[in-house]
Structure formats: C-alpha cells, structure tokens
C-alpha cells in the first residue's frame, strides 16, 4: 500500500447553521484517535453561511477545518455533498473518516466509500487504534471498528488493512462529547464548490423538521420496557413508573418493532446510547445490541420473570418477577415513602 496520512477527518453535519451533536461527539473521539496517531484532526464542514459551524469545531478538539460554503449546499442533498467529499477524499486520503450514523450520514458515507474504494463499517460502538497482525502480516496503527454483529452475543472487530482510508459511522450518543480545556484558534481552509448539472437532480420541495421532544440522552432516570411486556396495554406500566419516578420512557428494539413505543425512544446500538443515573429495565432480555446502549448507566434495575435473562448479568439490582406485580407495588411503596 502507498504511504498513508495521519489525518483524522470528521464530517460535520449541520442543520440551519448548527452542528449536530453526533458530529461534535465524533470530534471528541477523533481527537483521541488523532493523538494516538500523532496526527491531526480536521472538521469537514459543508453548507451555506456556515463559517460559525467551522469555528465551533475547535472547541471539541479540531486542529483545522475544511469549509465548503455554497448556496447549493445549504440543505443536504446526496449528489452535491457526495461529489464534494469524493474529490476531497480522493485527493487528500485522510487515514480515518468518521460520519454520524444519521439518515444523512447513512446516505452519504457509503457513496464516498464506494467512490474512493474505502472500507466502511456502520454503527460502531467503539473505535480504537492498534497494531494488528492479520493473515500473518503486520499492520501499524489500524482503526479497530468495533460493533456488535449478527443477532447478538458477538462483538466483531472490523479492520481495513489494505486501503488508505478507513471509514466508520457512529450513532448519536455512543461517543461522549467533551469540550477541550485549551482550545486553539482554528485555521479554516476554504474550498471552492464546483457546480454542475447533477447538483439539482434532486430538489427539495418541502421540508418539515423539529427537534425531538424526547431527550433520552439528557435524562437522569430512564424507564425502559421490552417485548417481554407482551402487549402495548401492558407497556403502560412503563409509563406509569416513569411518571411516578420522574423518568423518561424508553424501549428496546423489539418493543419498538412491536409498536409498543416510538422509535425515537429506542435504546441500543441502532437507537440512542444513554448514561443515566438510573435505568429500569423491564421485560427486556438484554441482547448485546441493547446492552451496548445502556450498560454505562450508573445503576441498572432489571425486572424480568426469566431468571436466565442476560440483562441480569449487567444489572446492579435484579428482581425476578412479573412486571404486572412488581411495578404497581413499586409505585405504591415509592409514593408512600415520599410522603
């Protein structure tokens, strides 16, 4: 393989001139990866009138920013964005490029990986740098792209040994956002956008967006229910408990798929990662993908009739019992004790 760079790039997703949380979280992680490589961290900002977005990235550890500012880029559309990144990545070959696993990132990252023949791993739950021996060959400082795989109970470490650019997407909340202590003023490199006829193949007619009213990431107490609750009716127990203890309602993927609870309340690898003071886990078996999204909670109370449920392995308090019996008791006793 030709010589590789030591640049870590983070694609900064922005909406109406505000950087997405997931991008800032990735800068915090990217900072650590860049330090480990003795390399540099670059924020890549596309949009219109978004210099302020580029400027904010240094607070999260960026050494410099690449800014492509043009009216065509005001709102995300796949072709103008992907062709811009394709060109930058092909010319400069960052060693690592990270995208948020948002709807935008999931449409954009694969196009850039496809064009630049880069490896891309989706929904990583951890990223590390390490020397690796693969098929008897030694590789220095590869990106370990770590994610649960295949239905659970397996953690796969993916590598991209033989291509210059290693790409990964990460869900919001998986990495922790840190402002750096001594931010350096950032240098911003402006790149000119080149228009062509493919830019307008997709035109936005109408857009409706609102910030999610659900703030699982910021909640100190979460009450999460699973498929084990059996019915949407029974899932009401989760709401009752959440109301009593002042927590947010959440669900496992199976509960979301069954329609018990909305997708924006899903905790786990393909949902939100949470780190609350306390999480109740009710009728959740505890597949690895779910645990990946909540195992860093300060205290975990698991309630499940199946004593063999894997969730008990990570719980701090385990209650083997039926939600229909345990929850009403809990609520009554709690209200009584608060008086």
């Amino acid at each position: 393989m030709k010589s590789v760079t030591k640049e870590v790039w983070v694609f900064i997703e922005q909406h109406d001139g505000k950087a997405a949380d997931v991008s800032l979280e990735l800068l915090s992680k990217g900072r650590k990866l860049a330090n480990r490589l003795n390399g540099v961290l670059k924020a890549v900002v596309l949009g219109h009138n978004v210099k302020a977005v580029a400027e904010v990235t240094f607070k999260y550890g960026a050494d410099s920013a690449i800014l492509v500012d043009n009216p065509t880029l005001e709102k995300y559309r796949p072709l103008p964005y992907s062709k811009t990144l394709n060109k930058l990545v092909n010319e400069r070959q960052p060693r690592i490029m990270l995208f948020g696993a948002s709807i935008i990132g999931r449409g954009l990252a694969p196009r850039v990986a496809s064009n630049t023949v880069s490896g891309l791993t989706a929904d990583c739950t951890d990223l590390q740098i390490s020397n690796v021996t693969y098929l008897k060959k030694d590789y220095e400082d590869l990106l370990l792209q770590i994610r649960p795989a295949f239905g659970g109970n397996i953690i796969a470490t993916i590598i991209t040994p033989d291509n210059p650019v290693q790409m990964a997407t990460v869900r919001e909340g998986v990495m922790e956002m840190h402002e750096v202590d001594d931010p350096k003023p950032i240098s911003i490199e402006k790149i000119k956008f080149k228009s062509d006829r493919v830019d307008d193949l997709v035109k936005i007619v109408e857009q409706y967006r609102e910030e999610s009213k659900v703030n699982l990431k910021g909640s100190q107490i979460i009450v999460a229910g699973g498929y084990g609750l059996g019915t949407k009716d029974n899932f009401k127990l989760v709401h009752d408990l959440a109301e009593a203890v002042g927590g947010e309602v959440a669900g496992s993927r199976a509960a979301v798929d069954a329609g018990f609870v909305d997708h924006d309340r899903q905790v786990g690898q393909t949902g939100v990662t949470v780190r609350p003071k306390l999480i109740f886990s009710i009728g959740i078996s505890g597949a690895i993908q779910h645990r990946a999204g909540m195992q860093e909670a300060n205290k975990i109370i698991a309630i499940n009739p199946d004593p063999e449920a894997p969730i008990f392995e990570i719980a701090h308090y385990s209650i083997v019992g039926k939600a229909e019996e345990v929850i009403p008791n809990f609520i009554d006793l709690y209200k009584h004790k608060l008086k």
């Binding site: 909406h15 796949p78 992907s82 709807i103 935008i104 999931r106 449409g107 694969p110 196009r111 990986a113 496809s114 064009n115 023949v117 880069s118 490896g119 791993t121 989706a122 693969y134 795989a149 295949f150 239905g151 659970g152 397996i154 953690i155 470490t157 993916i158 590598i159 991209t160 033989d162 193949l201 997709v202 035109k203 936005i204 007619v205 109408e206 409706y208 967006r209 609102e210 910030e211 203890v245 393909t270 306390l278 690895i288 300060n298 205290k299 008990f312 392995e313 719980a315 701090h316 308090y317 385990s318 209650i319 083997v320 019992g321 008791n329 809990f330 006793l333 709690y334 004790k337 608060l338």
Partner: protein, 296 residues
C-alpha cells in the same frame, strides 16, 4: 412506462441465531440459518409494483446470493414481478458491502436500461444501509433514501416523500434514480394463488443443470429454452456472464473491510443485588435508592 429493477436479499432470520453459525474466519455460515425475504426489500418490491400498475412498465428483481435465494425470487414472482435474476458465484463469497455493490452494479449494467432501482433501506443481518447508496454511486446514479411514498411521476420527475432526521421532506427527483424504502412505508401484497401455481415451477440455471444431469434424455439448452418460452427461467448470472467484472474487486479478497476478531460476549455477571419481588424486598430497594439520592 417505467422499467424498474428491485434489489432484494434473502437474509438469515436474526431472531434465530446461535454462536455456532460463525465460521473461524469470522464470516457467517449462512447455510446454518433459516432464510427469509428481507422485509424492507419486500416493501421496495411493493412500491415498484405500484409504479408499474399506475404507469405501466416492468419490474425485474435481482439478488446476489447462494442458489437457495431462488426461493425468495419465486416469492417475488408470486407478488407480481416480471423477471428475476439470481447473481450467484462461489467467487462472491465473503463480499462486504462495497464488493456486493460492485457486483450488483455490474449485474444491473448487464440487465440494461432502467428508470428506477429500488431497494430496502437495509437488511436485517447487518443493518448497514450501505449497499443501496454504494450501488448508486457505482452506477453514477442519483439517490433518495428512506422513501415512504412516491406521490406522482411527471415529465421524468418523481415527487417523493421521505423520512429525514426529526421529520419528513418532499423532493422532486429526476429519473433515473435509486430509491431505498424505509420500514413501514408499504404493506407488501399477499402472494397471488394463481401466480403460485404458475411460478412454483420457475427454475434457475442450477436447477436445470441438476435435472439434465439426472436424466440423460434431457438437454440443458432445450430445458433452458423451454423454461424461457414459458417465462419460468430465473436468469442466473455468474462471473462468466458478467464479462466486465474485475475479479480483484469481489469476494473476501475484494472487500476492504475484514473481520479481525469475533468475540463471544462473556458477561461478568453475578454482582447484582437480588431483590425479592415482595413488598419488603421492593421497599428496601426504594429505601436504598432514596438514601443514595438516586431517586427522590
């Protein structure tokens, strides 16, 4: 009149997976798992069939997979697909999303002109959502992901409702175009009993080869022609048929991502405080949580 190609995938039923199905090289031994039609791909097929019904045209389905994926292709016929293509070759084994998208893009070029390429947003065995956009990029094709509905198609422009983070958007997208369809957008139609009676007899090249091998009176060429005449031939393409394919870009070797390590998750466990599901047990738990200022 629109020509649509729908990319479909047969996936292991991830609800029924054990550790034993992982091979030593970290790839999955798919033959060990029950295989199902990836649901979002089925929804994509439904959308393509609706376009055909409203505007005329054809719907072809294409899958890259092992021979048994022909079961799913038959199900596509049962729903109303006009043609089916099985892209199958041992050399494809171990392909990651990039290598897969390369094979699919070459197969689509082989099939010919189209207006739409449809796909499910993602497949449940990896949830990556990468193959759709990667294929679009290789075909130099515009894309709209997370599609919920095609409102209308006029003057070669499709008005599409799609999901975005925190909302929805409506876009006008020029054809040709690749669309990925999001879960819950469409309700796939049931199989038609009449179509089942006809297409249960559809055969792939591999099926016909087997029949010819078992009966010396039957000739493969004739069998293929006979099935083609009745539209019961599932076109089967391998690296031999896709003459432009660069074999360094397919299979495990052609995949930039490699599985370095697979670990079964060993849970430390056993540290949990056991709380009896009684009033006393729960009461003392609440006391502890209140004392530690975790609750209250």
């Amino acid at each position: 009149m629109f020509k649509s190609i729908v990319m479909v995938k047969q996936v292991p039923d991830t609800a029924n997976i054990t550790g034993k199905v992982m091979k030593d090289d970290g790839t999955v031994n798919r033959s060990m798992l029950p295989a199902i039609f990836n649901h979002e791909d089925k929804e994509a097929l439904e959308l393509a069939l609706q376009v055909k019904e409203q505007y005329g045209g054809t719907v072809s389905v294409i899958t890259m997979g092992p021979p048994r994926a022909s079961d799913m292709l038959k199900e596509c016929y049962y729903m109303g697909a006009d043609n089916a293509y099985l892209i199958s070759d041992r050399k494809f084994a171990g392909s990651d999303t990039l290598a897969t998208s390369y094979v699919l893009s070459e197969a689509i070029k082989h099939i010919g002109k189209f207006d739409f390429v449809f796909a499910g947003r993602q497949a449940i065995d990896g949830d990556t959502a990468q193959v759709g956009p990667q294929t679009a990029e290789k075909l130099n094709l515009s894309q709209v992901t997370y599609v919920e509905e095609i409102e209308k198609i006029e003057n070669n422009v499709a008005r599409i409702k799609r999901k975005i983070d925190g909302g929805q958007e409506i876009v006008d997208a020029e054809l040709p175009l690749l669309l990925t369809v999001v879960k819950g957008a469409q309700d796939p139609r049931p199989f038609s009993a009449k179509k089942i009676m006809v297409y249960k007899n559809a055969k792939t090249l591999l099926d016909l080869e087997k029949i010819a091998n078992e009966n010396s009176l039957l000739y493969l060429d004739e069998l293929i022609q006979e099935h083609k005449d009745k539209n019961l031939y599932i076109e089967t393409l391998s690296t031999t048929d896709l003459s432009n394919i660069d074999e360094t870009r397919i299979g495990l070797h052609g995949s930039p991502t490699k599985v370095h390590k697979v670990e079964s998750v060993v849970l430390s466990g056993g540290d949990a405080v056991k709380i009896e599901p009684t009033k006393e047990g729960i009461g003392s738990l609440i006391d502890e949580l209140l004392n530690d200022h975790i609750l209250g």
